[in-house]
């Protein structure tokens, strides 16, 4: 049926756009996320039409695209505003006044939180921690990081949006992200020059360099602490010769931002560590999986990769040796679970981030089923330094089981939030003194998946054998409420659960409901025990690290502050899980009733 030109043109434009987009990405379904990012940026949603066209172009089932759109937070199947505003909902943003600020934004821009304005100009919503905890409240506009938001800034942003000013015309300081490196140690204080690690490795010999990394005692800096040298060796020993190196820059743990700083100030050294790994394990292709929230680093990182290619540090015959290796940057799209290494690999393959069944592990069956090393940004950063300065240099610091240093992201109630480097074995008290924390209630070490330690435990040590951490360190002073913290973290996990396994999919949401019941003052005697039981089930039976740690915020605070929970309970033996009167709301609306007889009182009141 012929349509008028005003109708056929957008459809035709869409067809051409999708065709060009697919061609640009070589019709590779592994690059699905990149393509979806571009569609979302252009149309502010992924329409059914786009799904159909893309499925045909890539020759994949449409369901795979729909799944990805629904899985990743930064994609939407319904139209968002032409200015998509997302506000970081980390506990640290909340402590900096985020709740009042987002309400103010909603009012100012005349858009409900979670909604799109009628004219389609702007949408506003919450998002998980954007990694700007040292300079919040933070957010994203069309994927670009906004920092240090306050009412004055919101006023100006609202004005820019009403005038439909392109982001390029916004004041650059709105997007300014400081590194805030406050304390440099072994690694931050002695960065290497580009090429030095590779030269040292080839001079010493690759096997001997792997032995140096082994001697350094370096363990994975993401938090799990697997020995880096062992991982590289396992991968190198695989029979399959097509191998991959992946740098996990998806630091989504609320309160973590050290990789943001490392990639902004020391990207060369991180890429050098990846190249070193490629030389040792025999990989030709590497990926930097950069969390979508760090889009602002993308162009700069591409430029550094280009410089390295020009300098002969990437590409064919690196430094004249028999080493061909290059690095591709892939952006995430808003999913905490993709920090889990097998979920990250699924995401690299263009799928939703569902952790795989293990064994087999990525070192033997990783990207496209090939042997793959996945390491944290900081691990590659450290490995490059070890190649230059030797394993003994690194191992001379730290403790027996935790060698070297750890880079922390410190935020919350302290005068100097930012990035700090400490030798392992440093007591928490020292760290708190350095960052200017006073009148302290406690600290969350390792983010929501880590441990809450109270002010009676500041002698505890930063180390795998005591407080293991991926680097998140959030300080709380005595004005903060324990339940607010547990509440924010528990909601975070329920929102970020991938939903693959029953205990995590259902359990994290049950945990949220059960904690809300107590938090909202609707809990009774049995409810804390019920909370404890759900925690145990989620922790014990979940498929991956997300579920296995999702109950930690409740478990670690319940153990230390049972009275904080008990004090919210009603003094009756049983309270139903739902509000009887609230459940009647739909019925009242349908019946157009609001009189007293249309309301019920809850038992026990």
């Amino acid at each position: 049926m012929p349509a008028g030109p005003e109708h056929s043109n957008p459809a035709k434009r869409m067809r051409l756009f999708i065709q060009d987009l697919a061609a640009k990405h070589h019709f590779q379904p592994t690059r699905l996320l990149e393509m979806l990012r571009e569609i979302q940026a252009r149309d502010h949603h992924i329409s059914n039409e786009a799904v159909e066209l893309l499925a045909k172009a890539l020759q994949i089932p449409r369901t795979r695209i729909i799944d990805a759109v629904e899985f990743y937070n930064f994609f939407s199947s319904t139209p968002k505003g032409r200015y998509e505003l997302l506000i970081s909902d980390s506990i640290t943003d909340r402590m900096l006044g985020k709740d009042a600020l987002i309400e103010y934004m909603a009012e100012k821009l005349r858009v409900p939180v979670g909604g799109v304005r009628n004219d389609g100009l702007v949408s506003l919503d919450n998002t998980s921690c954007t990694g700007m905890c040292d300079q919040g409240p933070a957010g994203l506009v069309n994927g670009h990081a906004l920092t240090r938001l306050d009412r004055a800034r919101v006023d100006r942003i609202a004005d820019l949006i009403e005038r439909q000013t392109p982001l390029a015309g916004w004041p650059p300081e709105f997007f300014q992200a400081e590194d805030n490196i406050r304390k440099s140690g072994l690694l931050l204080g002695r960065p290497i020059a580009p090429g030095d690690a590779l030269k040292a490795a080839y001079t010493r010999g690759l096997n001997q360099t792997l032995a140096e990394i082994d001697a350094s005692g370096l363990r994975g800096r993401g938090g799990a602490g697997f020995k880096t040298a062992a991982k590289w060796r396992f991968c190198a020993e695989e029979a399959e010769t097509e191998r991959y190196v992946v740098c996990n820059a998806d630091e989504g743990e609320p309160g973590t931002f050290k990789d943001r700083g490392l990639l902004n100030a020391f990207a060369d050294q991180v890429f050098e560590g990846m190249t070193l790994c490629a030389a040792i394990v025999g990989a030709k292709h590497g990926f930097l999986y950069l969390r979508g929230e760090y889009l602002h680093l993308y162009d700069k990182l591409q430029a550094i990769l280009a410089q390295r290619r020009e300098a002969g540090l990437l590409g064919r015959g690196i430094l004249g040796h028999n080493l061909d290796f290059d690095i591709e940057i892939r952006l995430g799209a808003g999913a905490y679970i993709c920090g889990e290494e097998s979920a990250l690999i699924e995401s690299l393959e263009g799928k939703s981030g569902i952790p795989r069944n293990r064994p087999p592990y990525p070192v033997s069956h990783g990207y496209l089923g090939k042997p793959t090393v996945v390491n944290n940004v900081e691990s590659f950063f450290a490995a490059a330094a070890i190649a230059v300065h030797s394993g003994a240099w690194f191992a001379a610091h730290g403790t027996e089981k935790s060698k070297g240093t750890k880079i922390l992201s410190i935020s919350g109630d302290c005068t100097h939030p930012g990035i700090y480097e400490y030798p392992f074995g440093t007591p928490v008290r020292t760290i708190l003194d350095d960052c200017g924390a006073k009148d302290i209630l406690g600290a969350q070490v390792g983010g929501p998946s880590g441990t809450f330690i109270s002010n009676r435990e500041f002698g505890r040590l930063l180390a795998f054998e005591d407080l293991a951490t991926g680097g998140s360190f959030i300080v709380f002073n005595n004005s903060r409420n324990i339940l607010d913290i547990a509440h924010n973290f528990t909601h975070f996990f329920a929102h970020e659960s991938c939903g693959f396994c029953t205990p995590c999919r259902v359990g994290t949401s049950l945990l949220r409901k059960q904690l809300d019941k107590i938090y909202d003052g609707r809990g009774s005697a049995g409810d804390v025990a019920a909370l404890d039981e759900i925690c145990r089930l989620v922790k014990t039976y979940s498929h991956c690290g997300l579920g296995q740690t999702a109950a930690n915020p409740v478990l670690t605070t319940l153990a230390r502050y049972p009275e904080a929970y008990q004090s919210r309970l009603k003094k009756i033996s049983y309270e139903p899980g739902f509000d009887l009167d609230a459940e009647l709301e739909t019925a009242r609306r349908l019946a157009n009733r609001s009189d007293a007889a249309a309301h019920l009182s809850q038992t026990g009141e």
Partner: protein, 239 residues
């Protein structure tokens, strides 16, 4: 020489590449499961088959059997927790057994009975879920879907089609049909497909066949799921 591992004190023979659950079922030892089905790629998501392997919690349906493993399955603690996981599935969806055609043939219900489940224990979600009756021969009631992905796998692996997928994240996950309209009638699903018959619950039903087998004469009316599973799944193994 046959390789064996120990399950609840008994030696279980296995062949290379077998998972714990397959070897156990072949040897006549039932381990509760919902998303596992012999002959299909293991999924490992329902977690009912959680067992202790050398003291660590593992999914029996994905964990490879190896010589000398010490596996615990039929313990009071594990069965109590399996009951809780089953209850999670019950409160997540909207499972109203007395009004469901699958009652008596339903694996979710049968596992509930097997584990001694007498109530739902947890708070209900009462999530609004859709029903798709558009297809002439097959209907879907998403209220009863437990995300086992057996229909997804059956369509892909057995029928050579790609009719179903699980989409979305977390508690908002849902089953979708592969058609531009999203409706089942516009997919290439046929009532004779394996995917139309594999559902362990009443989420996918064949139209006009309701109550052909009367209540009282159904799979789990006189036998437990352990007995039925061992008969049926051993057969499908040829074991």
């Amino acid at each position: 020489m046959t390789k064996t591992f120990i399950l609840d004190g008994q030696p279980i023979p296995f062949s290379d590449g077998q998972t714990i659950i397959d070897a156990a079922l072949d040897a006549g030892a039932y381990i509760p499961h919902l998303c596992h089905h012999s002959g299909y790629t293991p999924h490992g998501s329902c977690k009912l088959c959680s067992v202790l392997v050398n003291g660590r919690v593992c999914s029996a349906c994905t964990f490879p059997a190896t010589e000398g493993l010490e596996v615990l399955s039929h313990t009071e603690e594990l069965n109590e927790d399996r009951k809780r996981i089953t209850q999670m599935l019950f409160v997540e969806g909207n499972h109203l057994c007395p009004g469901c055609e699958k009652s008596g043939n339903c694996k979710l219900q049968a596992v509930g009975y097997y584990l001694g489940m007498h109530d739902n224990h947890f708070m209900h979600f009462f999530s609004p879920r859709k029903l798709d009756a558009s297809h002439p021969d097959v209907m879907i009631d998403l209220n009863r879907c437990i995300f086992c992905t057996l229909c997804v796998r059956a369509s892909r692996e057995k029928d050579g089609k790609d009719v179903f997928a699980i989409s979305g994240r977390g508690i908002n996950k849902h089953l979708i049909a592969n058609s531009a309209s999203g409706l089942l009638k516009d997919t290439d699903l046929e009532a004779s497909d394996k995917a139309a018959h594999i559902c362990p619950t009443g989420a996918i039903l064949i139209k006009r066949t309701g109550y052909a087998t009367p209540i009282g004469a159904r799979d789990y009316d006189h036998q437990t799921i352990a007995e039925v599973s061992l008969e049926q799944e051993q057969e499908s193994h040829g074991g």
